[in-house]
Symmetry: C2
């Protein structure tokens, strides 16, 4: 929505960003960027063409009677956390509440929410429970194009299509995912702020054993530069996607996602693909490979020590004064 973007009143952050290119699906640069692992907003892909008519009423009538994963947040932020890691991490306060609601229950919460009060965000994988018409819409996605991309770029299997329905102003704070993602926008406008994997050092992700693994510890609204000094140097990319747009969001790229305030709720569907095979190792290792390596090392340390309390000191002893200053 490059042309429209100037009309959006976007919150300012204390770091510079470049615009993510918006390219037509037929532009040869589009596939070049995907092949290079670079983000791009793809227009006219028709990826979710059969779902562009989705709205809350239609979904409520056709999506089925099951329960849906809905998060509730006291502020506008929906920071993901891993339920499996909560128990091992004492004193952890869940940043949002997990609810299992029927679709009508969710819609009611969304429609009756008052400004400044609790917000809700539906995040549910599309699965067998949906009604016939949704199945037909799903089958009408542009699978031939997205599957061609999967093959050309040697992505692994499609793992899930997540349906996201967010209230205006909802923010998913900066994090990275371990999968490739085609993010398709259906309704409303989402601002994406992205950072290259080489900005890891500026983003200070939580320890891997922490429930907020993969999430930045930095509060973008109030950065603690003392704890996170390199956040001062961070450089990002951004865009706003609207109905019909598809953002290619490469694995390990940091992203904060904001449903624009004052533009109504948002509906999106993700296409998540597993990482492809590693291929030959070429030196120097890529930032992505280094992130993967760090994650594995941290997990090994966690497993070997068998006690999360001992991890920080162990890591500090290994590094502080030893790898923080060039040895004489």
């Amino acid at each position: 929505m490059a042309k429209e973007k100037k009309t959006f009143d976007l919150k300012e952050y204390p770091f510079p960003t470049e615009e993510i290119p918006r390219l037509n699906i037929d532009n040869p640069e589009t596939e070049k960027r995907i092949a290079a692992g670079l983000p791009v907003v793809i227009t006219d892909s028709g990826l979710v063409r059969s779902a562009l008519h989705w709205d809350l009423d239609y979904l409520q009538g056709n999506i089925g009677d099951g329960k849906f994963t809905v998060y509730k947040s006291k502020n506008k932020k929906f920071q993901y956390f891993d339920d499996k890691k909560v128990d091992t991490f004492k004193d952890f306060e869940k940043p949002m509440e997990h609810l299992d609601l029927t679709f009508p229950e969710f819609v009611k919460k969304l429609k009756t929410a008052k400004p400044g009060k609790d917000k809700v965000y539906l995040q549910q994988a599309l699965n067998e429970g949906v009604g016939k018409r949704i199945v037909a819409d799903f089958l009408g996605f542009n699978w031939s194009w997205v599957t061609e991309q999967q093959k050309k770029n040697k992505f692994g299997a499609l793992t899930s299509n997540l349906l996201l329905i967010g209230m205006e102003g909802n923010v998913t704070p900066a994090h990275y995912d371990e999968q490739e993602n085609f993010f398709a926008q259906i309704r409303g406008y989402k601002r994406f702020i992205l950072f290259h994997p080489d900005q890891f050092k500026c983003m200070y992700p939580y320890p891997t054993y922490h429930p907020c693994d993969r999430q930045s510890q930095v509060d973008f609204d109030n950065p603690d530069y003392k704890r996170f000094p390199k956040f001062k140097d961070v450089k990002g990319y951004e865009t706003v996607v609207g109905p019909g747009d598809v953002l290619f969001l490469p694995m390990y790229w940091w992203h904060q996602v904001e449903s624009l305030p004052d533009h109504g709720h948002t509906i999106s569907v993700t296409f998540w693909y597993k990482a492809g095979p590693i291929g030959n190792v070429v030196y120097p290792l890529s930032p992505q490979q280094k992130v993967s390596m760090m994650r594995n090392l941290e997990k090994m340390i966690h497993q070997a020590l068998n006690n999360t309390d001992e991890i920080p000191e162990f890591m500090q002893n290994m590094v502080l004064g030893r790898y923080t200053d060039p040895p004489a």
Copy 2:
């Protein structure tokens, strides 16, 4: 030499030390300490009883015509470095010079050295090249006792007996070894300053890929507390060994070794044993096990990155701001 120790004029260091116990070989506490992996000065062991008559003339006449490893230092410090790691570490200045000398050449250098000038230190494994009388002396060591200790404590194989001949005032700066050691003193007096493996955090060893791997970066004569703040908290143990004394020096214990000034040259022989089998893992891991784990992790990182220049930043990115402050 506990009784004599008061007559030694020992240099003072800015950290407290406790005396290492001196125990007779027949004292049941002696074996308890060895079994517990704690240092102890063992008296009356007779470990090198057949070598107590060794002096420079006798050795010169019987040790053989081969070449001996001799280090030369412009100051009194003989900091070990790994020749194999020198090439990968640019700008490394060797802290001492490696010479290959005949025994008479070494003795001449030792006898003609002038105060304040270059010092020399012979460090040569006893091997087949020695003459008949040295072989006989070697066979007269108290092998039954030391082999009994090896078996009782499940040490691995004897790897070497290093003959050490140092000038008075020679200092081997603080480092740890990856083997168990019975250190037998034959002539002169050596001061040992030891630190428990749990003092790793205070000692700031060089990175494993550095030629001075296993050596502390801290200059005991002039500690840089800004780079190495925890050295302020270090607590040590010490002793002075004289002829006939044997120090049990457990694996991973830090040690600085000083041939006392104004007491003539020193002659010593080490009995180095490989680490025993690991046995069942019991939590929490011991400081020794953590040091071993750190070493393996650092080596893996070195190997994976394939470039020593990238290691410090990688380590910093993994730890700084992520494991240095408790996550909120």
